[in-house]
């Protein structure tokens, strides 16, 4: 005599779902869309932050310590007619470096010459003296169109930002003439466009500039890179304690951008939450309808000896299957469309950092699928409970009625 064939719960659940293909498919699509939104949003959150962190590293120093009252940008200096430069002694670098928040520093000296042969009434040309040992590592985002950094800390050489080189029509190997000082320097590097004020800057080794302009041991600013974990506000306060210096920080703008970023994050999580809630309601609706339609069947199962726990498990497995299928499809969609999503986000955002904006890794996919299945299980509790507590005879009769 043949042994009765055992049918697994999984098998019955799959058959049940297959009976109402359209409804099951629509539910899976709903869950898939929610998962897609969830993974894409979290991927964006993580990708955006990673790219921003990378841009922070590329930007190099985040803070400028300048001599009190000294213009700290070439543009400001020009507006002041090239006057008003104030100096700090190089000793200040030692005072800054000893702070634990400081990762690295780079001393700088800005100098200006008046060029009477610019336009009808002359113009100013600014030079930035930089330390070849520290500046390049604090500006990893700068790349060269031609050449490279200086060959020697005291070399008579210049590196030009792209726009400065374009204005002066300079290329590597050309000579560059400092008006007023009547000094010739060799161009050793032309930077690629960076989209920052470095494009218009003419860089000279710090020691060379100090010597040429007779400013031994003098600096106009010190670029400071602080540790990522450092309390910037606290560190700023410490820097203000140094004698005769001011700290350049964009606190107001920073606060505004922080608020904008926080708002964006809240918005992102709200959308994800709404998507999940909608899909949970969809799952509950589908499974509950399925249970109500199968009252007689459930009644017969129970009459044949199925326990309430068995019925509960059956409905739960159905829910889990729906959620698992939806989760997998959604994850696949998120991975496949990540490039497109990134492109669309870039079109929408007024500013986006360089590099990938959406970062989807295996961890995020697994956690998201697990979360969707878990939420599905939670949403399946009520329909499963309804099914489990049905009384066999009442269930059979109610459907006949």
């Amino acid at each position: 005599m043949n042994e009765p064939k055992k049918i697994s719960l999984f098998h019955i659940a799959w058959k049940n779902l297959s009976r109402k293909k359209t409804r099951s498919l629509l539910t899976v699509v709903g869950i898939a869309l929610a998962t897609w939104v969830l993974i894409s949003l979290f991927g964006f959150n993580s990708g955006y932050k990673n790219s921003l962190d990378r841009d922070i590293d590329n930007l190099g120093f985040q803070m400028l310590v300048v001599a009190k009252g000294c213009p700290y940008e070439a543009a400001t200096l020009m507006l002041k007619g090239g006057t008003g430069l104030k100096y700090m002694n190089e000793e200040v670098v030692k005072l800054i470096v000893r702070e634990p928040e400081v990762e690295s520093v780079t001393p700088m000296l800005m100098q200006v010459v008046f060029d009477p042969n610019k336009g009808q009434s002359g113009g100013l040309t600014a030079f930035l003296g930089i330390d070849p040992a520290t500046f390049p590592s604090l500006k990893p985002g700068l790349s060269f169109k031609q050449g490279g950094w200086f060959t020697d800390p005291e070399a008579l050489e210049v590196v030009m930002g792209y726009e400065a080189a374009e204005l002066e029509q300079r290329e590597v190997g050309d000579m560059y003439f400092i008006p007023e000082k009547e000094i010739e320097l060799k161009v050793v590097g032309v930077l690629s466009r960076s989209g920052t004020q470095d494009d218009g800057t003419i860089f000279i080794p710090l020691k060379t500039l100090q010597k040429l302009f007779d400013q031994p041991d003098q600096l106009t600013s010190v670029g400071v890179k602080v540790n990522k974990e450092a309390d910037l506000a606290r560190f700023e306060e410490k820097m203000f304690q140094l004698p005769d210096v001011q700290v350049v920080s964009l606190t107001q703008v920073k606060t505004t951008i922080m608020t904008l970023l926080s708002t964006a994050r809240v918005l992102v999580f709200s959308i994800a939450l709404i998507a999940i809630l909608i899909s949970i309601m969809g799952v509950i609706n589908t499974v509950l309808m399925s249970v109500m339609e199968r009252q007689k069947e459930i009644g017969i199962l129970k009459a044949m000896g199925a326990l309430a726990a068995d019925v509960f498990k059956l409905v739960w497995v159905e829910t889990s299957l729906l959620c698992l299928l939806g989760g997998l499809t959604g994850a696949g969609l998120a991975v496949l469309t990540s490039r497109l999503t990134e492109y669309l986000i870039r079109q929408l955002l007024p500013f986006s950092p360089s590099g990938g904006l959406i970062s989807i890794d295996a961890g995020l996919i697994l956690v998201s699928i697990a979360a969707v299945v878990l939420l599905g299980l939670v949403s399946g509790i009520y329909p499963a409970f309804r099914a489990a507590r049905m009384r066999p005879l009442e269930a059979i009769r109610s459907e006949e009625e």
């Binding site: 932050k49 042969n117 374009e166 029509q169 974990e229 500013f351």
Partner: protein
């Protein structure tokens, strides 16, 4: 402990905000980010009044070899110039700024400048031209190098007045010779020690005239205004009674 971790995260975001601000300010200051840069007058209203004292207004438009005919046109321009466009900055996409000069509503000439590589830096050579392409005046807006004062002097500038592109036809840019000697050979170098810069200026003048021929005059029928511009700006001179040209006036 947990509180500490959260505050560290918040601090990291604060840093991000600062940097974002710096990046944004950098972007705002430096837009546009790509494309070659042309040669503009530093103060168009003042400079045009100097070059065309009788003018009452001007209009600005931009032309480039890339937009006007591409490689084929570049070949013609280089052929007429007798030299190749070379280097990092002498490229096909340089937008050339042309100022169309008016006296009331009458077109009285053009002002056009080019960047030229000199011995020690950039040289910006502007020409004021009649509608038929004759040099009315010559202006070195910027000169980095030795002898700048002499090259920007009225005496040096006066030597170019009345010249046309045809006068440069026998001047070979590469060999720096005019065969047979003609009007270009008669232009005196005010700084004999700066022969390179003198020759660079002659090249710039010829290049300026060639570009005007191919990018403006060849595309302009008699009585017509400028060719299809990529952008238009207007600049009436300040002062009472100066008729203003309207921005976006039909071209």
């Amino acid at each position: 402990m947990r509180g500490k971790k959260l505050s560290a995260k918040t601090r990291a975001w604060k840093h991000s905000g600062t940097i974002l601000a710096l990046l944004l300010s950098g972007l705002l200051v430096n837009l546009p980010l790509s494309g070659a840069v042309g040669c503009d007058l530093n103060d168009p209203a003042r400079d045009i009044k100097m070059l065309f004292p009788q003018s009452t207004g001007f209009r600005t438009f931009y032309v480039s070899v890339a937009d006007s005919g591409g490689q084929k046109l570049l070949g013609k321009i280089e052929n007429r110039l007798g030299d190749r466009f070379s280097g990092l900055f002498e490229t096909i996409d340089v937008p050339y700024t042309v100022y169309e000069i008016y006296k009331n509503n009458e077109l009285i000439g053009f002002v056009h400048g080019v960047n030229q590589k000199g011995r020690y830096g950039g040289i910006q050579v502007f020409l004021a031209l009649t509608p038929s392409g004759e040099i009315l005046s010559f202006y070195v807006q910027k000169f980095t190098g030795r002898g700048a004062r002499e090259f920007r002097s009225p005496q040096f500038s006066a030597q170019f007045v009345g010249l046309k592109l045809q006068d440069f036809d026998n001047y070979q840019v590469q060999s720096r010779q005019e065969i047979p000697p003609g009007p270009i050979s008669r232009i005196k170098n005010p700084v004999p020690d700066s022969e390179d810069d003198f020759r660079a200026i002659l090249r710039a003048v010829k290049k300026n005239l060639v570009l005007m021929k191919f990018l403006v005059f060849n595309r302009q029928k008699p009585g017509e205004k400028s060719p299809i511009p990529t952008a238009v700006l207007s600049g009436p001179f300040p002062g009472p009674g100066s008729p203003a040209l309207i921005e976006g006036e039909s071209i």
